[in-house]
Amino acid sequence: MSTIAPRPGDPEINDALVREHGLSDDEYASVLRILGREPTYTELGVFSVMWSEHCSYKTSRIHLKTFPTDGPRVLQGPGENAGVIGIGDGLGICFKMESHNHPSFIEPYQGAATGVGGILRDVFTMNARPIALLNSLRFGRPEHPKTRHLVEGVVAGIAGYGNCMGVPTVGGEVAFHGCYDGNNLVNAMCVGVVEEDRIFRGIAAGPGNPVLYVGSRTGRDGIHGATMASDSFVEGEEGNRPTVQVGDPYTEKLLLEACLELMKEDSVVAIQDMGAAGLTSSSVEMAGRGGTGLRLHVDRIPRREDGMTPYECLLSESQERMLIVAAKGREDDVRQIFTKWDLEAVVVGTVTDDGMWTIVEDGVEVASIPVGPLTDEAPEYDRPRAEPADLAARQAQPELPAVGDCNEVLLQLLASPTIADKRWVWRQYDHMVRLNTLVRPGAADAAVLRVPDTEKAIAVSADCNQIHVKADPYEGAQGVIAEAARNVACVGAEPIAVTDCLNFGNPERPEVMWEFERAVTGLGDGLRALGVPVVSGNVSLYNETDATSIHPTPTIGMVGLLESRDDAVGMGLPADGGELVLLGSPRPSLGASAYAIVCHGVEQGAPPKVHWNEEKALLAVLHEGIRRRFIRAAHDAADGGLAVALAEMAITGGRNPDVGPGQGCEVNLAANPDPIARELSLFGETQGCAWAVVPTSHLADLLALSQELGCMARHCGRIGGDRIVVTDAHQTRAIDLSLAEARAAWEGGFCASVGLPQPPVRD
């Protein structure tokens, strides 16, 4: 092993400095063993970020290995910048979800914006053209003093970045809960289309090939962002954070176009974006995948500021930058394209065959680390797990008195911010640019996009019910999968693959680790039952403030396929009427339900369980029924149960939300008229159920199809009038509410709760 003299001006390596870099004694011992000497300051920084939770997945890796990741459609599974699932016609859908939780809490606008920027780069580095963005957001209680500011900033940041990029933001979810008061969650998902034989990967191959740096200059932004994402918050310490990264979507748009243009040619060997831990992780990962080495001249890195040290350049998280390995002799071809797009492209190093990651500053080596050990010998932990002491209490079925007035319950639920209309949010997102959005946000359970140059369409949805997951991580996680699958099935698609973003608390707490393991197992078992693989994902741990961890929040991004885009349906009740059929067997539960929380202030009870045979039969009926035109609109029962789902369909009307004032309906739920039993069937939450709208002429067809596919189906009523009416087994009207009143509650609930001015209601 070569010795490297300490760089003048760098701090001396000592125990305190090692600890500040978040390396444990054992980890530091590995560093010493790998290097055969003491690390330089630069090297210490590199180990620190590469072995951070965020980059190394040291805590989660052993659990993630249990996910199903294979399948006949999988073109690229986890491990690359993003996953790819084949949809035929020589095309793949490339997608991934990622968290930007901590940065968005410190600086909501920039944190959320750069989160979107990062996930876009992950997708277009694979040579996929991004066609859609989604986001899953979790905020604290609406009345918490910080919430409004965070909501406004995060939504504006997502809008600011995505809109400028010209990628439509078509879906997502927003939920509120006190457990996020000190740790909001911002999960962003990007979906792109790639030609299946033109998928680019980040594999640094071919010793002698030049390495180019392209995009924005490097500043001192977010140094140690990766380690920050691997640490908990202490209230009041937000001031001591590193320089926040500021996004420049304009530069990223140029980078997107330049990279896609570049990848049409054969001058590029590999490409990788600089995300967390910037230049370090991108270059180390590329060399690691290629089994090669890299020699980088840090003095050639374009910089925004004077006097930056190698340590700062390597660890900076400045945005809108890429690292490219070009074919030898093709540097000028690469440069030419970037110059066309007004971007810098600079040769900063070469691929080597010595397996070493070597950094040179003005001719002097300042770091030299064997790539293999740096990546392969990253720590891996099987952290202790323990069932939470309060688990039984969490799951105890609550004794709830009946509210009695079901109209009132329905209005309260519709107006609760987690259920209420999110138009204030998605109205700020350009959700139509690129002309692919067939079913818009607010119009259905999933957005539907046409796949350019084909007859196909894809459906995308982001989901998690963290109340259910908290109550029972295993069952709750299965429910997340089931709901995501139902959401894409309700627009006519077949679920084909997922990405995930696992947001959890402090993994050093055995109860959190237990939740993590149970949730991951639940997700995996659910996906296996469905036959749907995970192709990409992300883990965000240490979402904890002042020793309080968030609810386990494993968000799922589901992609479904429609062979014919003409099949897509929405959830609104059509103006020209039809029958209402309840598909599936309700097994309603008031435990862990929105009803219990909103109407009784009780968060307790076991979540509804998934019965996969029934769930799959439901998905099949939805998919087939829509394809055969028996079903003209559908919506699954989720938060708030069957009554809320029905009301949402009535309020929405039409195929897209701007069309029509809604439609009334009258259904009979055959509910036991006893008050609490009645509330249970109306508002209890269940898996495996959806409302379907069927033209009268196809009612018999749908019932027959359901029977054939083994799914319960019950004709409950029909569309008509301007009221939402639900009768019970005695034909008594349990709910009888004017559409206008329901609509006002649902449309106004979000802004009223968070304290925002409501956008004008259009005709």
Binding site: G160, N163, K253, D342, Q428, M432, R434, L435, T437, P760
Partner: protein, 232 residues
Amino acid sequence: MKFGIVTYPGSNCDHDAYHVVKHVLGCDATFLWHKDRDLQDVDCIILPGGFSYGDYLRCGAIARFSPITEEVARFAQHGGYVLGICNGFQVLTEAGLLPGVLRTNSQLKFICEDASLVVANGHTPWTVLCPETVVAPIAHHGGCYYADEETLGRLEGERQVVFRYAQRDGTETDEANPNGSLNNIAGITNARGNVLGMMPHPERNAESELGDASGAWIFRSIIHSFLEGTRA
């Protein structure tokens, strides 16, 4: 008829405009690069939506100095048809090809939704075939039209206001005005009528899959006007 669609750095509706004129309406179409000066013999130029130069400083402010914009101005002065959509409209006002200015929306937020427009002047080359109302989505942060009183008076007097925000049934109301534009203005032409700027995106509602397709009438109108003109 051949359309040219300008690509500025940061344009992002250029492909949408191209798709509609080429694939939906079957015309010839080509992209015009901002650094070029060659207009490639096009008959109508579209300045598309997006965020030219990031919309930094002011929307459309920096794009007006691109070489291509100078050529577009010359083309317009000779009576060539120019359509600025959204960011393209902003560029046209900044470049002085259309009067007034587009300011930040009165609610200070980006808005994306369908807008119903009443056709205020059906006798322009852009509207001859249009029905009384069309639907075209808006997607902008700075679409609040403003001009001083004298300019506004002239625009109204000369019937240069072509589209106004309205209710679905065509009535102009304050509630239908999404961004605070004076006189509910959504689109105007220059005095000669060959240059149209509008904030709503007709290209987003030109196919029945995406809406009622009424936005296509604006493109059909200009194709019709062009063919009439060449025939005359």
